[in-house]
Point group: C2
Chain length 162, copies 2
């Protein structure tokens, strides 16, 4: 499902980018992300999918303000893309408690919420049964925006107590 | 958060039931579930929370049609409530493939969708950062209803190929 080769429903694309082009769930998700013009706020328990990391890096290079919150235990696992994204200059914060930061949502331009069961891992995309819900209703997006800002401050390294 | 003892916001409740009474995220979730009159369709990757299992059992005893789809690998883990629910006479089906059945959603009376990052486990409820979204917009509920029916048929034991 995550193949980069154009499939039956592929649209002509003159650019040599490595992003997926076939009309798959993954390519539709990537297109939603790449629609960001000002900000991407991402809360992701586990993030190991290279294609999605490329899309997030691209937004950062375009000048979109990208902020990532992730889980402290999962960010260090083999295949995690978090180190690479940090290395690219993207701000990343993580939890400091024993439970999991288990959210899996993204907010594009503070208006479009992308949420569901899907962790951004290749296994999830290729082999699991998952759902992704895209919502632009302000009443639905608001609590997720509030939760993001709350977590972003809570996980600010200057607030860590040692 | 899952305490059964009434908290500050508790409402008087004359019944001796063991369901949580304080106004917590868990009690609000239980109340939504107990509003079911005709059907509960549940797709749950991991289900080990005793309070939620009690609520589901209660619906079954009230005559609500309960159907559960779960993950084959996680249903056998220590603390899973799936065996108990099956024993109570509730229909349960599970996946037959290597990936996870990773959905975490419930549909009440084919009208109200309860979905998010939350597995119905005590750990998730007590210690994780999670979200639960309750939606009754028909356009949102429909794809989840369709997915439930598709999976329910796909995981029908009479369709297993050995």
């Amino acid at each position: 499902a995550a193949a980069a080769a154009p499939g039956k429903a592929a649209r002509p694309c003159p650019c040599p980018c490595p992003l997926p082009r076939a009309d798959t769930s993954l390519s539709r998700l990537v297109r939603r992300l790449l629609s960001a013009r000002r900000s991407l706020d991402l809360c992701m328990f586990s993030f190991s999918c290279p294609q999605l990391a490329r899309a997030v890096s691209l937004l950062h290079r375009r000048g979109v303000r990208v902020r990532i919150v992730t889980d402290a235990q999962f960010m260090g696992l083999h295949g995690s893309q978090i180190g690479r994204l940090r290395h690219a200059g993207i701000q990343v914060r993580h939890d400091q408690h024993s439970g999991y930061m288990h959210h899996k949502f993204a907010i594009v331009d503070r208006r479009m919420l992308i949420t569901g069961s899907l962790n951004w891992t290749s296994q999830a995309i290729q082999t699991n049964r998952e759902n992704v819900l895209v919502v632009d209703d302000a009443e639905c997006v608001k609590p997720f925006l509030d939760e993001f800002e709350r977590i972003w401050e809570e996980y600010n390294p200057t607030n860590y107590s040692f």
